[in-house]
Every structure is written in C-alpha cells, then in structure tokens.
C-alpha cells in the first residue's frame, strides 16, 4: 500500500521532470523564494543597522549635553527607534507601514514618524517581494500550475481506468499524487527553511521559529489539498485549471481585501489627530505644568505646605515648580495613556475583524500566524509604542525630580534675570547619565505562540476539513 503511494508519487515527479512547464514552475518557484529571502535579508539588516546606529547616537547626544536646567532636557527630548526582530527578515509584517521612531518629550505623546514606505518608489503597491508574500500568494499559484492535471491528466488519457483495474484504489492514487505535490511544495520552501535557520543563529527563539516554518508547511498542505480534489473531481484539465485559479483569486487576492475593507468600514477608528482634541479638552481641566499658580495646583500646594509645616511655598525645602511639573506630568500621562489605550483597542478590534476572515481564507490565517510569530504584527507595534511611552515617562519624571530637588524655587524663578542666575538654576551634566538604553523587546515567545493560536487553529481546521472531504469523496473517484 505505502509502497504504491511512493511509486505513484515518484511517477508524478518523473512526469514533472519531463514536462517543460512543470520543470519551469519548480525552478521559478524555487528561485523566487530564494531571491526574496536574500533580498529581504540584505535590506532588513541594512535597516536594522541604521536604526541601531541612530539609537546609540541619540543616547550619546543626550548624555553629552552640558549642565542645564532639567526642564530644558525635557524639551530637548530623546529619540527611540524600533529594532527588527530576527524573524522579521522573513516576514517584515507591518514594519514598512508604521513609523519606526518616536520623539519622546515632556507633556506630549508623539506618534511614530518616518515610515519607510514614504521613501519607497511606489512600485510595491500590490506587495513587496518578501518571503512571506511569495510563500503566501505566489507559491499556491505555482502549486496550481504544477498540480492541476495530476488526476485529470490520467482521466483524459484514459489511464485512470487502467490504474483502477490494476487494483490501485482511488485513495491510494490520491495519497500518492498528494505526496508528490506536497513534496514539491517542500522543495519550494527550502530557502525559507534556510532563512529560519539563519534567523535562529541571529537569536530567533526556537519555539516560534519552528512553529513559523511548520505553519507554512500546513499552509502548503492546505493548498495541495485544494488543488488535488479539484483535479480529481473535474472532467478536464481546463476545468480543473480554471477552477483552481478562480479559487486562488478568491482566497489570496479577493477575500483578504474584502476583509480589510470590511474591517475599516465596520469600525471607524479616529486617527490620533482627532483623539488629540479630546485629550486637550481633558488636559485643560487638569492644568498646565508650566503654570504653578493655576487653580488645579492649589490643592497640591495646600497639602505640601501642611506636610512640611510651612507658611508659603518659598519656605519649602523642595522647589515647588518641580513638584508641580512632576505631579502634572503624572496626571497628564494618565489621560494620554487612557486615550492611547483606547485608540490601540480600536485598531486591534479592526484587526480582529480582519483576522476572523481567516476561517474562510487560509491566506489570512497564515499571514497572521506568520506576523505574530515573527513579532512584526500590530500587537508588537503597540508594544513598541508602550515601551517608548514608558521610556518617555521615566526620563521625564527623573528630570522633574531633579527639577524639584536640584535647585530652590528662588533660583528657579530668577533664571532669566542674569547669566549668573541662569547658571545657578542648572544641574550638573552628570545627571544626564540616568537615561537608560532603549532597545525594543518584542513579545516573548510564549506570548507570541499564544497570540498565534487562533490563526493556527484556522489553518488546522481548514486542513482537517479538506482532508475529510477528500477521504469522503475519494472513495468515489
């Protein structure tokens, strides 16, 4: 039995070797995958290098600033850049579409700026030639060309009857043909496997890496299991080909875009700009950290006076302006984070609608599994924004603390009186060393696996459904 399956599979390979079309398809597919792995890898390591370089430059610049008033450093600000995770070289995900740097400063949460796509030629409007795209969209198409005639060919030539008479059961035949098709798919995916292995030497965690390649294999299995029954149950090569190709158009090109349109029409996500107005409205109620006499600060003033048991702010052992700055930054950040959280939630809700279309289209499922495992999905982008915000808050508050403790209120208030007074209202440059190094840490592998569960379930469900259909119908070939 299993021997027969192998013979049938080997025979199919022999046919491919003889047929110019099939041979060409295998060669083209293999070189496309290889080229995409190589190209994406080179360009990504360039990008990663530049971002690392700019990150360390930004940190050096900050630490090299002279003696200053701490509040000046809050407005001098800091830049953080998002690094690319190792598997990002195989699936850059949304990297090119999102800003890759955030300017951190006091009283503001800036958006990520400088998306790579804005410097692009515009030629990749359908998609860039990344390994992910080649494997997700182009490989299935090539599998169709390779496999549309596996059974119909035998039928048209009349050899199907012959095989039947010789005692080759339909399921054996299908298993053999399926094995041939999937082994061809495996051959096509070898450059991707090599890419994954290289990423592992670059530090990709083992479990997500293995799941990454495994999910692509399941995806290819799904396509083998789509092409095969269409070939088995259509009358002619032509029908089999047109049928598979129509299905490919639907699953790989149409449904993903319908899903994307649907998600954005169903859930309206106001952009950052629009949210900013709502934020501003709330912030006005909180009061401005630059304005110590604002009504919002009177309670703070009263409690401080009581705490230190003094009559006026001038007698406080700390600089009241610094305390106000600290307090108002904390209040303001709370509001900013509330709104940021809401916006991220809206984007996630949109993405979820999109992701649920994965029950229909294996292409959406693999895309999600792949991005999630590679840590280049929306969740990881949001994580970057959160980490950047934490870095912002930490350094701003550290500076506000210096502001409160490093000078008196009198020194601070008189800083524009004269150059000497200005000098008095500064702290030593040694303090700038408090800036911690920033490097984006994507979700750890356990969380990534957990997040990819739905997509993996979709893939397995689709595969299971196809196999049971095949087993059910296969008896009646």
């Amino acid at each position: 039995m299993s021997n027969r399956i192998l013979i049938i599979a080997r025979d199919e390979w022999r046919y491919w070797q003889r047929s110019r079309l099939s041979l060409a398809v295998i060669v083209i597919a293999l070189s496309l995958v290889a080229a995409s792995v190589w190209i994406t890898r080179t360009s990504n390591s360039d990008t990663a290098h530049q971002r690392e370089h700019m990150q360390s430059e930004a940190e050096h610049n900050f630490r090299d600033q002279p003696d200053r008033h701490p509040h000046r450093m809050i407005h001098y600000g800091h830049y953080v850049f998002r690094g690319l995770p190792p598997l990002g070289t195989l699936d850059p995900g949304i990297d090119a579409l999102t800003g890759n740097t955030v300017f951190l400063e006091g009283h503001r949460q800036n958006s990520a700026t400088l998306a790579d796509k804005k410097q692009s030629s515009g030629l990749t409007w359908i998609s860039a030639l990344t390994p992910a795209f080649v494997m997700q969209v182009i490989a299935p198409m090539l599998l169709i060309i390779l496999g549309f005639s596996t059974v119909t060919r035998e039928r048209e030539a009349g050899t199907l009857e012959f095989l039947n008479v010789q005692g080759v059961s339909p399921l054996t035949l299908l298993a053999g043909k399926g094995l041939a098709l999937f082994s061809a798919a495996l051959v096509i995916s070898t450059p991707l496997l090599v890419g994954v292995l290289i990423s592992m030497t670059d530090g990709a965690a083992i479990l997500p890496a293995i799941t990454f390649i495994a999910s692509y294999w399941i995806y290819l299995l799904i396509w083998s299991a789509i092409v095969l029954p269409i070939s088995a149950f259509t009358r002619s090569n032509t029908l089999s080909f047109s049928g598979s190709l129509t299905l490919w158009m639907l699953l790989c090109l149409i449904i993903p875009r319908i899903a994307s349109n649907t998600a954005s029409v169903v859930i309206h996500s106001p952009g950052k700009l629009e949210t900013d107005f709502a934020v501003l409205q709330q912030l006005r109620e909180i009061g401005d950290g630059h304005n110590t006499s604002g009504p919002a600060n009177s309670a703070l003033k009263a409690s401080l006076l009581a705490k230190y048991n003094v009559e006026s702010v001038d007698e406080l052992p700390v600089n009241f302006k610094g305390i106000v700055a600290q307090q108002s930054e904390a209040n303001l950040t709370k509001v900013l984070n509330q709104f940021a959280q809401k916006q991220m939630q809206q984007q996630t809700d949109q993405a979820d609608i999109y992701r649920h279309f994965g029950w229909l289209s294996p292409m959406i499922a693999i895309q999600n599994a792949s991005m999630t495992l590679a840590a280049t999905d929306l969740t990881n982008y949001h994580l970057f924004l959160r980490q950047a915000e934490k870095a912002r808050f930490d350094f701003v508050q550290a500076l506000n603390k210096l502001h409160a403790e490093g000078m008196t209120l009198e020194q601070d208030s008189n800083k524009y009186r004269s150059n000497a007074a200005k000098k008095a209202a500064t702290v030593s440059a040694d303090n700038w060393q408090m800036l911690s190094q920033f490097s984006f840490t994507p979700l750890e592998s356990g969380a990534r696996l957990h997040n990819s569960m739905m997509a993996l379930a979709q893939l397995i469900m689709l595969f299971g459904a196809l196999i049971s259909t095949l087993l059910f119908l296969g008896k009646r070939l």
Partner: protein, 421 residues
C-alpha cells in the same frame, strides 16, 4: 460582419455558465470596490469636517486663555488637511500611508511635518480593494479565464475545423468573439464605476477618460490572450503562459525594480533630519542671542535693527532660533524629500514594463491620491507655516502690545492655494 453575427456570438457567450459567472464576479467586485471606496472617502471628508470644528473651538480656547503673542503662538495649533478629490473613491492610493492632515504651530516645522496620523497599519498591509485594483490586478485574470481557451476549447470540442470553414470573414469569428468578451467585461467593471463617479461628483470628462483608459487596458490584455491563444497547445498551458506574463509584469518586475531603485538612490536617513534639527534648536538656548539673530537675519533681513533683546528669554528670540533650526536642517530635509521624489520618478520608467503599475500611477495621479499629491500637500503645509511666521514676526519683533483683534488677521489654511511645484 453583421448585426446577426454579433447577436449570435453574444448569445453564444452568455449562454455559457462560466462566462456568466465570471462576469457576475467582475460586476460584484466592481460594485464592492466602488461602494467601500465611496464610504472610505466619505469617512475622510467627515473626519475633516469634525477636525475643522474641533480646531476652531481649540483655537478660541487658547486665545481666551493667554494674552501674549508669544504664548498664543506657542499654544495655538492650526489644522491643515488635504481632502480627497472626487475621483479618490476609485483610486484610494497612498492616503493610508502618507498623512493628509496635520496640526501645525509656530515651532520649528521639521519636528512636526514628519508626524504621521495614519490608519490601521495591519489593514494597510492587507491592502484595499478599490476600483483601480479591480481593473489593474483582477481584470487581467478574469480576461485570462475568459479568453485563454478561446480556440483550444473549440479544438477540444472538435468544432475548430468546422468553425474555420464556415466563417464568412476572417474577422468574423475569433476577433469578434474576443471583442464581445472584452466589451462585456468592460461594461461589468465600468458601469458601477460610472454610478460611483456620478455620486461622488466626478466631472464627465474625467469619468469618460477613466472609462477609455480602462478599455484600452483591457484591450491590451485581450490582445495578449488572443495572440497566445493562437499557439497550438492545451488550454491550461496557454493559461499558464498568460499567468506567467501577469505575474512577471504585475509583481516581479515592479518588486525587482523597487529593489534596484532603493539601492541606486541613496539619501539621508529621516532620523538624521530630525536629529539635526533638534540639535540646532536646542543648542540655541546656550548660544548668545546675537549668534542666533545674526543667523536669522540672513534670511529675514527686514528685521535688521529690531532683534535686540533685553532679557534672557524673549519670544522673538525663541521663535528666531526655531526658524534657524529649521533652516539648518533644510538641506537634509530637502535631500530626504529629493530621494523620495527621485525614486518615484525612476519608478515611472519601470512602470512602462508593468501595465498594472502604469494604470495605477495614472489613476492615482488623476485622483490626486499618489505620492506626488502627498508632497504637494506637504509643500502647502510648509507654505502655510511660512505665512504663519510672517504674520507673527511683526507682532513679536515690533514689540507690539497685545491686542486680541490682531489675531483676526491670522492666516487660515487654504487648501485651494496650490503650492508651487
């Protein structure tokens, strides 16, 4: 060729289930694309409406809160925006990547203009169906399915020789059949578009132009299918060849072109622009005021003699160093922009080898949703920022007393004023 011939062929074609099915798919896709495109564009317009309202409220609140030109300039943001054109519904273009709205204030512009307030990146990655995509990417595939076995199917059915013998004229059969098929597909795609164009207020001329270009594009692909279908091979082999051409011209050539262009045109990193500007702006705090003012006067000689400062902090000095910071970063910013433009321009040559890209570039150009339109908007924002500065300079450098009425003359962002390019 007579009406009878045409009628016969039309009836023959629409009796075939697969043809009808594909035409229905084409119509549905086109309707969906036009519909969601229109919704998208309407959402963008509504967003702008809301922003304009919120912006007005915000500005009046700031004007009430402060009574000093310096503070007002510091805290007042001005909304700038580029509304979608009437045709945008059919070609959404890059508006999900390039910003089309900014809030701008008197501070150094380089720190503001690179901000992006874009839509959901995960959806942007998936891409959207718009009319352009349906025509440029799907239509060739539909044509392929409709036309690749034009002759092969007749050969397989054993009717080929018979048909060849009975035709009255050599154009009567295959060219006629192809022509009718293209016409039917064209109608299926273009009719929903025309409805959308009327609803969105696209001018008749432009609508017609788009319809004609779509027809030309379809005819081009049909010619290829027709030409390939003459080869005596089985239908799937022919279809694979057409599919190969489609894959090559729509994906591989553009992607490969992109790689070469990216390698060939190098420019400064965006991060370098931002950091240069920040260094310039921040270093100014520690420099003698004269240094900043001398640099400022180089490009603003009209304020000579009015740049004296009497205290360590003065707003005119503050805004002068913001501007000087921008001017220091300007060469880098220009080089950054130039790189983007060079790349886009070079892509125009690659597009000659990729009909789909060519069509997309043309439609997004007409719809003003391409990178060029985004840059024009950027230039408009720069021009507005300059107007704003030149409004405040007399008030700041002239040491004018605060008068709220003066703010009435403050420039408003006017989207119709096109920037020079």
């Amino acid at each position: 060729m007579s009406w009878a011939d045409i009628r016969r062929e039309v009836l023959f074609l629409i009796r075939r289930k697969s043809v009808v099915a594909l035409l229905v798919i084409a119509t549905l896709l086109s309707v969906f694309a036009v519909w969601t495109g229109s919704v998208e564009v309407a959402q963008q317009r509504a967003t702008i409406e809301r922003l304009i309202e919120a912006d007005k409220l915000d500005r009046s609140a700031v004007s009430k809160q402060y009574n000093d030109y310096g503070y007002i300039a510091y805290y007042t943001f001005h909304l700038t925006y580029a509304p979608p054109s009437p045709l945008a519904f059919a070609a959404l273009g890059v508006r999900d990547v390039y910003p089309w709205k900014h809030r701008i204030r008197m501070l150094a512009l380089e720190g503001q203009i690179h901000e992006s307030d874009t839509q959901n990146p995960e959806l942007a990655l998936a891409g959207k169906i718009d009319f352009t995509f349906v025509v440029a990417v799907f239509a060739p595939l539909l044509l392929l399915l409709l036309l690749h076995d034009l002759r092969a199917s007749e050969r397989a059915a054993g009717r080929y020789a018979f048909l060849m013998v009975t035709r009255k004229h050599r154009y009567n059969l295959w060219p006629l059949r192809t022509g009718i098929m293209v016409a039917l597909l064209w109608l299926a795609l273009v009719l929903p578009f025309i409805v959308g164009a009327v609803v969105n207020g696209v001018s008749a001329g432009l609508t017609l132009l788009v319809a004609v270009v779509v027809a030309a594009y379809l005819l081009g692909w049909a010619a290829l299918c027709y030409w390939i279908s003459r080869v005596n091979a089985t239908a799937p082999v022919l279809a694979s060849c057409i599919l190969g051409v489609w894959l090559l011209t729509s994906f591989i050539i553009p992607s490969a072109g992109n790689v070469f262009i990216k390698d060939y045109y190098h420019g400064p990193q965006g991060g370098a622009v931002l950091m240069t500007q920040r260094e310039a702006v921040n270093a100014a705090w520690d420099l003698p005021h004269e240094t900043t003012m001398t640099a400022f006067l180089k490009n603003h000689p009209e304020w000579t003699g009015k740049t004296e400062t009497s205290s360590l902090f003065e707003w005119k000095w503050y805004y002068a160093f913001q501007q000087v910071g921008d001017e220091k970063a300007l060469p880098l910013a220009q080089a950054y922009q130039q790189t983007a433009q060079d790349r886009y321009q070079a892509a125009g040559w690659v597009a000659l080898l990729s009909p789909a890209t060519l069509l997309q570039r043309q439609l997004t150009r007409w719809a003003e949703t391409d990178a060029t339109a985004a840059w024009q908007y950027n230039d408009r924002v720069r021009a507005f920022h300059a107007e704003l500065r030149h409004f405040y300079y007399p008030l700041l450098f002239g040491n004018a007393d605060y008068d709220e009425a003066a703010l009435k003359k403050r420039p408003e962002f006017d989207l119709d004023k096109k920037a020079d390019r």
